[in-house]
Amino acid sequence: MRLLRSLFLALCVSIGLWNQPALAQSRSLDEPKIKIVASFSILADFARHIGGDHVEVIDLVGPNGDAHVYQPKPLDVAHLAQARLVILNGLGLEGWFDRLIAASGAKPPLVIASQGSKFLSLKGGAYPAVDQGPYDPHAWQDVANASSYVRAITTALIEADPAARSLYEARSQAYLGELSRLEAEVKAAISAIPRQRRRVITTHDAFGYFAKAYDIDFIAPQGVSTDAEATAQDVAKIIRQIKADKIPAVFLENVSDDRLIRRIGKESGAKIGGKVFSDALSETKGPAGSYIDMMRNNIREFTAALKP
């Protein structure tokens, strides 16, 4: 009986081997997926949309993590060694990556997703930037750039796995369609806010592209370090600034005590904005589980706070 079963298995395998070229187009379920490593959650979301079930995407910096700082884990090095493609944002966001890849000893193909995007100089100025960097790395906050991210990742994925070209192209086209609908949505929502009310005080420093692309002013609170306990001077400065510039809404992150934020809002008359996401997605079930959900969430929060 046992012998019979082994013989049967051997037969199956050899048939499988014979038919390999035919099977390549429609991969069986048991076959390992194409392994992709993305540096942080937003890039991973793009890759999942393009690859679908065909790929397995691992994000090095997971949801709610900060992509600027990263603590390497041994498992990540193992993932890198097996990866068929590694997706990076570039523009200096993943300063830690060079050392990680050197330590892993692996040489997987890399793609810089931000290639082909419109850049914004860290010094501000015109958009797209005319001078030579350094550029603000948070380019995905402009949906047009997100589309160019998706195109760059699609091209790289097809190079890494040419057999599934048609599948990647079809999924990529569908996702680009969703992104262009999202862009129209964002523009419509912002244009419903009168220009003089599009002013926000925020400690988030990752909305430079969003500000330029959709014409909102993001103003950093003066002289406030969000790490330390607040001083009376800081609070007084923020309140003065809001009153002087007639700023309708305040979005603060990292300020440990939301009682203090409520106090600032009450005293200055500015609305306190809800939670917005800039450089990491939330958990899948959270308000910003995917890139599109993240942008929708941010738009909802901004319009809620800025609508007259």
């Binding site: 800081d234 203090l260 409520r262 009450k266």
Partner: protein, 292 residues
């Protein structure tokens, strides 16, 4: 000159509501913490405040875990944990051979460990200190009303139990022979310590709450001898430290809670040097005088 003084001292409070609230909150706190601190000093319980602050911490943390950043839940949790520790420690002291400091130490450590365990059990990585450090800059109406109620209640109760309390400071043995009020008065007093610490943790953050309770009272000891005057002086020092601390925090950009306590510390050192009751400079002058 006057304009400069106005800008320095008055203007911040005129311009900003949060500064006025901070001032009123810390004044109210100083009014009840002053007399409480004097009794703690006279009864040699200066470190009890510190222990009780730790006993309150986990209760407030549990309140936070259950109901979020809600003033009432955290206050109630802290109140229950603090009073429980105070009463249990008091009972153990009365009925065993253990001294009060030993029983208090064991109960507050248990309470603290329980709190930390519960927080980790819940799997949340919120920073306990962040939750529990209130800010004097963020007093809303509810917090101010709470501070004022606690202060008024404390002063009323102190007035009622004043005689037995003073007697127990001076001669606990005598109090025991003439009345059976000693034990209940003592427990009531410990509960007052708890609610004043809670008041302090809304205004300053837990650890600094002990400072506002003890430093003005200890400083007052250098200025006068009678209990009544000491309570008054203690309140004045507390109020002075609050006002100066807030102004310094505003102009120099220092964190407000610690600045207030530091100012109370400066006043303590001044009292230590200059106070007529055993101040170091007076003592120096007297010894020089005797030698001469």
């Amino acid at each position: 000159m006057m304009a400069a003084l106005y800008d320095l001292i008055i203007a911040p409070f005129v311009e900003f509501d949060f500064m006025r609230r901070a001032l009123i909150g810390s004044f109210v706190l100083a009014l009840s913490a002053g007399p409480m601190g004097v009794f703690l000093v006279l009864r040699r319980m200066s470190l009890v405040g510190d222990a009780m602050a730790h006993a309150i911490l986990p209760g407030a943390a549990i309140g936070y875990l259950i109901a979020g950043l809600s003033l009432s839940a955290m206050t109630l949790g802290g109140l229950i944990a603090g009073c429980l520790v105070a009463i249990l420690a008091g009972l153990v002291t009365r009925h065993t051979q253990l001294r009060e400091d030993a029983s208090l130490a064991s109960f507050y450590i248990i309470s603290l460990a329980l709190g930390v365990t519960l927080v980790s059990l819940k799997g949340s990585n919120i920073d306990l200190l962040h939750v529990l450090f209130g800010s004097v800059l963020a007093l809303d109406d509810a917090a101010l009303i709470l501070l004022a109620s606690i202060s008024s209640f404390t002063i009323l109760v102190l007035a009622v139990i004043y005689r037995p309390l003073v007697l127990e400071c001076v001669d606990p043995g005598f109090l025991r022979t003439i009345s059976s009020m000693g034990a209940p008065v003592h427990l009531l007093f410990l509960c007052l310590v708890v609610i004043n610490l809670i008041s302090g943790f809304h205004a300053m953050g837990t650890l600094l709450a002990v400072g506002v309770l003890m430093l003005p009272a200890i400083s007052a000891r250098f200025w006068c001898q009678s209990i009544g005057t000491m309570m008054g002086v203690s309140c004045v020092i507390g109020i002075l430290a609050s006002a100066l601390g807030l102004i310094a925090s505003y102009h120099l950009g220092l964190a407000s809670g610690p600045t207030i306590i530091l100012l109370a510390g400066v006043l303590y050192f001044l009292s230590l040097l200059l106070g007529p009751q055993g101040g170091l400079l007076w003592r120096l002058r007297r010894s020089v005088h005797l030698e001469g």
